[in-house]
Point group: D3
Chain length 276, copies 6
Amino acid sequence: MFNHKKELQFDAKPDRPDPVFAKKLQEVIGGQYGEMSVAMQYLFQGWNTRGNEQYKDLILDTGTEEIGHVEMLATMVARLLDKAPVQAQEEAAKDPVIGAVMGDMNPHHAIVSGIGAAPENSVGVPWNAGYIVSSGNLLADMRANLNAESQGRLQVARLYEMTDDRGVKELLSFLLARDTMHQNQWIAAIKELEAKEGVIVPSTVPADWEATEFSHQLINFSEGNDSEKLDFVGKQAPDGAANFEYVSNPVSHGEKPVLNPAPSYMHNTPPNEDKM
Amino acid sequence: MFNHKKELQFDAKPDRPDPVFAKKLQEVIGGQYGEMSVAMQYLFQGWNTRGNEQYKDLILDTGTEEIGHVEMLATMVARLLDKAPVQAQEEAAKDPVIGAVMGDMNPHHAIVSGIGAAPENSVGVPWNAGYIVSSGNLLADMRANLNAESQGRLQVARLYEMTDDRGVKELLSFLLARDTMHQNQWIAAIKELEAKEGVIVPSTVPADWEATEFSHQLINFSEGNDSEKLDFVGKQAPDGAANFEYVSNPVSHGEKPVLNPAPSYMHNTPPNEDKM
Amino acid sequence: MFNHKKELQFDAKPDRPDPVFAKKLQEVIGGQYGEMSVAMQYLFQGWNTRGNEQYKDLILDTGTEEIGHVEMLATMVARLLDKAPVQAQEEAAKDPVIGAVMGDMNPHHAIVSGIGAAPENSVGVPWNAGYIVSSGNLLADMRANLNAESQGRLQVARLYEMTDDRGVKELLSFLLARDTMHQNQWIAAIKELEAKEGVIVPSTVPADWEATEFSHQLINFSEGNDSEKLDFVGKQAPDGAANFEYVSNPVSHGEKPVLNPAPSYMHNTPPNEDKM
Amino acid sequence: MFNHKKELQFDAKPDRPDPVFAKKLQEVIGGQYGEMSVAMQYLFQGWNTRGNEQYKDLILDTGTEEIGHVEMLATMVARLLDKAPVQAQEEAAKDPVIGAVMGDMNPHHAIVSGIGAAPENSVGVPWNAGYIVSSGNLLADMRANLNAESQGRLQVARLYEMTDDRGVKELLSFLLARDTMHQNQWIAAIKELEAKEGVIVPSTVPADWEATEFSHQLINFSEGNDSEKLDFVGKQAPDGAANFEYVSNPVSHGEKPVLNPAPSYMHNTPPNEDKM
Amino acid sequence: MFNHKKELQFDAKPDRPDPVFAKKLQEVIGGQYGEMSVAMQYLFQGWNTRGNEQYKDLILDTGTEEIGHVEMLATMVARLLDKAPVQAQEEAAKDPVIGAVMGDMNPHHAIVSGIGAAPENSVGVPWNAGYIVSSGNLLADMRANLNAESQGRLQVARLYEMTDDRGVKELLSFLLARDTMHQNQWIAAIKELEAKEGVIVPSTVPADWEATEFSHQLINFSEGNDSEKLDFVGKQAPDGAANFEYVSNPVSHGEKPVLNPAPSYMHNTPPNEDKM
Amino acid sequence: MFNHKKELQFDAKPDRPDPVFAKKLQEVIGGQYGEMSVAMQYLFQGWNTRGNEQYKDLILDTGTEEIGHVEMLATMVARLLDKAPVQAQEEAAKDPVIGAVMGDMNPHHAIVSGIGAAPENSVGVPWNAGYIVSSGNLLADMRANLNAESQGRLQVARLYEMTDDRGVKELLSFLLARDTMHQNQWIAAIKELEAKEGVIVPSTVPADWEATEFSHQLINFSEGNDSEKLDFVGKQAPDGAANFEYVSNPVSHGEKPVLNPAPSYMHNTPPNEDKM
C-alpha cells in the first residue's frame, strides 16, 4: 500500500520557462531508462521476490522513491512549459528565436497534454513495459538495475551539459547523487550475491547440462586477431573454472541445414525437386 | 561487411517435432533478451565505438556470433514445426492430445510464417529495438551486456527444464556455454574499465555537479527498518567515497508544488480561484 | 513523494494455485484498462493540474491507491503461479488436465518472470503509455477517468465469472467496490464541473470559431432511417443550445479534391496528364 | 458494406502551404484521439453490438462519418505540404525561416509519404489499436466515446489557436461543430442508458459479489485532509446507495505478503533462509 | 465522404460457434496483412494520389470495399464467440474438450471485447499503422498492394484448411476470390506503369546519381557458389540495362572505419589512447 | 554462421558533420523500409526456406549484404554527429543557425546514443519486426522483397535530394545501385516462379474452394464510373482465367447482420427488447 506526501523530495523550479528543454527532459521521465522504467522495474521485482526479505524491502524502497522522481521531473516539465509560445502570431513567425521554439517543442506538450508532462520519451514515443525486467533471479535483476542506473545517470549528465538554467541544474545534481547511490547499492548487493552463488547466472545449472568446452572460448568472428590483444585473454576467467581461450578461426560444429519440404496444406511454394 | 557460412555453428536437430515447444523457444529468438536483442545491441555498440579498438573488435565479434545463434534457433523452430497438426480433422478434435497441440501452437506459426520461425517472442509480440541500448559509454554498455547475458542464460536454463527432447537439450547446452563465456568476458571487461575509471558511470561528472550529500544515503521509503539489516549498511560504499548511511525516515527537501494557471489559449479547465 | 506500507490494502490469497487464471488476471494489471493504466493516468493528471487544488488532491489520492492495487494483483498472480507445472514430464504430457495447464499458461510466467507477475496484459502485450491521457482539461480527463473505471469494473466482473476460487473472488469483490467508488466520485466531479462550465468540452471556444449549423445535426450515414427513432431525436440537446436535428441524407459541403502534382524532387510517379 | 462519394464532407483548402502545421495536424488524424481512433472505435462497437439496433445504427453512422473526417484531414495535410522546401540549397540553409521549416517538418512527410498524410500522430508515432475500445457494454462504451470526443475537440481548439490560415480554420470550425454534436449525442445516449440501468457499470453485478463497505469511501492516501473539502463529500453518491464517506487515514485490510520460495526448476536466486 | 449499407457484402454465418477458430480468424482482421491493413493502406494511398485520377479512383474503391471486409469478418468472429464457455464450472474443468476451448480462446474475447471482434491479430497484438505504406509513388505502392494481397490470400487459404465449418468456408471462399481479383488488378496496373516508366522504382533517378557499376552484380556473400546456378545469372536483367554479373567473392570498397573520439561533454568512456 | 570483415563494403565519409541530416538518414537504417528491415526479412526468409536451395542461397546472400549496409549507414550517422552542438551556450542560443541545429537534431543522438546511430527511424520510433514478413511462400515473399527494395530506393532518392554533401551523396549512389540490383533480382525470380506457378498466390488453392464468380469483378464502390476508363477493364486478367468485368453498382450478397444477445455472464448492456 502506498501513501503520498504533498511536498516534493527535492525542489523542481527552473529559473525560467524553456519548452525546448522540456522536450529533452522527457527522456528521463518516459524513456527507456527514465524514472518510469526504474520505478516500475523495482516495484515488480519487489512484489515478485520470494524469500530474501531484506532485498525485497530494499528494492521496494527504491522503487517507491523513483515514483517521487517522476513526480519531480513532471513538475519541472510543467514549469518549463509555462508561457509556451504556441499561438500563431504574424510577428512571432518572423522572429527566428520564437519561431525556433515553436518548432522545436514537442507538439504533444501543446496539443495533447496542455503544457503538462507526458508519459513518453524525448521524441514522443510512449513509455512501454518492454523496457523493464523482473526475472525472479535476484543476481540477474540486480545487474539489470545496475545497468539502468548507469544508463540513467549518463543521460542526466548529458542533460546537465545542455542547459544553463540553475534551477534545472540543481534538480539534476540531486538526480546525479541518487543515481550514484543506487549504483553503489546495487554493486554492493551484487557482490554479496556473487560471493554466495558465483558470478554466472543462474548458479543452479548442473555442470552436465552445459557444453563446457565452449564456456571459455573467445571466438574471433572477424578477420584479423585484434581482439587477442585484450588483457584478459589467456588469463583466468571470472568464474574461476578455466582460462580464457582464444579461437582465431570460428569452426562450424553443425551441418548445413536442409529443411523438410512443407506439407501441402501450408500452401508454401511447391518444391522444384530436380533443380532447387 | 559480413559473410555467411552455410554450416550452422552448432547442430539444431530435435528428436521429433513439437510445435508447442517451438512457441516457447521463440522467447530466446525474438524476446526482450533473445538472440536478436544481443545481436543488434552488440552490432550497434560496436559500430558506435569511438577509440578503444580492441573492445570494438570484441563487441563486433560477439554480435556477429549472435546472428548465427538466431540462425540456429530459427532452424530448430522450423524443425519443431514439421508436421504441425494444423488441419481441421473430426477425429483430431476428439483426441485431447492433438487438440491441445492445435490450441497451444502460436497461430502465427501456421497462418503467417508457414511453419517457420518468426521474429517475435513466446507470446507473439514482434521484436522491437526499444529492448536494446548503445550509449557510447563502454562501462554502461558492458553492464547492459552482462545483464542481457544473465537474463538470457536464465531463460535458456528454464527452457532446458521444459523439454525432454535430447536434440533440443543439446542445442540449449551449447547456448548455456556461450552465455557463460559472454558473462565471463563482459565481467572481465567491466573489471578493466572499473579499474581505470571507478565504478560510478559516467566517471567524468565533476564533483561540484553532484549533490553529494545524497550520494550514499539508503533512504527507507517504507514503514519498519528491515532494510537497515542489510550487511552493507554502514560499510564503505563501492565507490570508496563514503560509507552507506541509513536514513530511517525520508525527508522532503522540496516544497508542495503549485503550478501557474494555464494560459487561456490552452483551453484547460478555467480555474476556480476562490475555492480550489 | 511516496511512501510504502508493507501490508496490502486487502488480502490476496487464492485457495489454490491456478496458472491459467493467473494469465487472465494479467488483463487488470497491465491491460488497456488495468490498474497500471489508472495509476499512471491519475498520477500524471494530478502532477499536471494547475489550480483546482482540491481536485488535484483527489486525483493524486486515487492514483496513489491504484499503485497499491497493482501490488495486490501482482501478489495474487505470484501465488496463483505457485507450483506451476512447467517441467517436461512424460506422464504429465499424457495427462490432459496437466497438459492443458502447461499449454494455457502465459509462457512469460515461466520463462521470463520466474512465476511472478509481468507488466503486461492477458495475451502478453506489454503495457504502454498510449493507453492513458492527461490533457490539462479537468472535465475531459474526468470523463476519461469515468470511462476507465467503467471498463475496468466490467472486466473485473467478467473475471469474477471465470473462477470458483473463493480467495480470488474476495479480492475481486474488493476491486468491484473500489471501482464503484471511483465511478461515483468521477461522476460527482463531472457534475460539479458541468454545472460551472457547461457540458461541451472545452467550454472556452468562442461561438464564432464554430460552424454551429452542424453542431446539432444527427446525420444518417446509412441507408434507412432507423436512427431517427432514437428517443432524443428532435428534443433539446444536452448543451441546451438547440434541438437535435435529423438529416436523412448526408450532403457534401466540399468539392472532389484534386491535389497538385508532386514536385519532381519527390520522385513520385510521373503524371500522365492526357489520360489520368 | 460501404460506399465512397468523391466530394468531401467539407472543404479542405488552406490559404497557403505550411509544412510545419501539417506536422501538428497529424495529431487529429493518427493520434490517440484522432479521427482514425473514433472511426475505428465506433465501427468495431457497432459491428459488435448485440440487440439495441437503434444504438447500433447511430454508432455505425457516426463511425462512417469519421472515416470521411480522416479523408478531409488527409487532404488538408497533402495541400499544406505542397511546395515543401525539402531540397538542400545553399541559400536556403542561410535563410533562418526556410531553414526552420526544413527542420520542423515531420521527416516522414518528405522521405516516406511523398508529401502526403501519414497514419501517425504529430510526433510520428504510428496509430495503433491499443487506443480504442469496444467492450460490448453500451454504457461503458458511450462513456469512452464521450471522452474521445471531449479530448478530440480540445485538441482541435488548441490547433485552431496555432494557425492564422483561414482555410485551415474553416475546416477546424467544422470539426469543432461535429465534435459538439457528437458530445451531445453521446451524453443523450448515456442519460437514456443510466435512466434504465443506473450509473454504475456494469449494472448487472449482484450485490453480494461486492464488498460494499468500500463502495463509497473516499480514502485519503496523502498527508493533510484537503480533499475532504470537496463539495460532494458527505453527500449522497450518484448511485444513490449511500453517502460519500471520508476516510482520513487509509487502513490496511491485508497482511504483509510473504511468497513461497520458488521451486528449484525456476532457477531463481537460491533462498538464504537464515538471514533474509 | 462515406456511406454505410446495412447488408453485408457477403454472408457471414458459421454453422456453429467455435471460439478457438475465432481467435485464429483475428489474423485476417487485425494482423499485418489483415483487412484493416489493406483498407487503411488503400485509403491513405488514394487520398494522397496527385494526378492519375483513374488510379486514385481504383485505389479508393478497393479501400472502401475492404472496410466492408473487416465488417464481415468482425461479424463472423462475433458469431463464432456465441456461447463461449467462459464461466468457471467444476464439471467443465474436468472435461478436456471444454477445458481446451476455455484455454485456447483469446482472453480478450471474453474479458475485453465481450464476445466481439477486436482490432488485433491472432495472438492479440493490436493493429498498428507501421504495417502499411503510402509513398506517393504509384508503382512502389502497387507493388506493396500486390504483396499485401498475396500474403493475405495465402493466410486465408491456410485458415480454410483449419476449419470444417461450411459457413466459415463459404466466407473464406469469397475472400479468396476477391484477393484473386485484387492480385489481378494490381498486376495489371503494375504492367501499365512499368510499360511507361520502366521497372526500377523510382524511374526518375538520373543516371549520374547512381554507381551503376554495382547495379547488376549478384554478389555471393557466402561460401560456395550455389547461387551462381540460378537461371537468370548471366542473362539480361529486367531493367534491360545490362546482364546480371556474378561476383563470387565480395570485395570491400571502403576502409575500416575509425571514428573520432567523442567530445568530453558526451561523457562517453574516456579513450585509452596508448593501447586501444 | 556469420563472419565480419572490418572494412566497409563502401566508403561512408561525409565532407562535414551535419546532425540534422543524421536524423533524416535514420529512416533508411531503422525505418519501415530501412536496411534493418531488409536484413532481417531476408535472413528469416532464408532460414525458413524449405527446398529451393538456390533461392535460399540468394536470399541469405542478400540478407547478409544488408547487415553490412546498416553498418555503413550507422558509421555515416556517427560521423555526421561529430561535433554536434549539444551544449548550452549563451551565444549559441542567439545564433539562429546553431540554434536551429540544436533543435532539429534527434535528441536521442545526444542523450541516449552518445553521438552514435540508433536502431530507430527518422522520427525516433524504434524498429520493430512488425515491418517484415517471412511467409514460407516464395512468390509471396519475393513480392514483399520487390516492394521493400522499391520503397527503399525511393527513400534513398529523396534523401539524395536533401543534401549537398558529396561524401553522403557517394554512399547514397552506392545504395541506389544496390537497390537497383535487388529490384532486378527479385523481378527475375518472380518471373521464374510465375512461369511455373501462375500469377495468383498461392497457386495451390483448388478451384472449388473459391467463389470464382467474384474473382474478376472490378466493383465500383463510389459514385461515378471513372474507374471504368482504366485501360485493362474488359481485357483478359493477368491470371488468364477470365476478362476483367466492371460492376458499376456494388450488390450486397449478404444480409443485415443481427447478432444474438450476449449471455448474462458477459455483463454487456441488458437488451431492451421492445424498442431497440
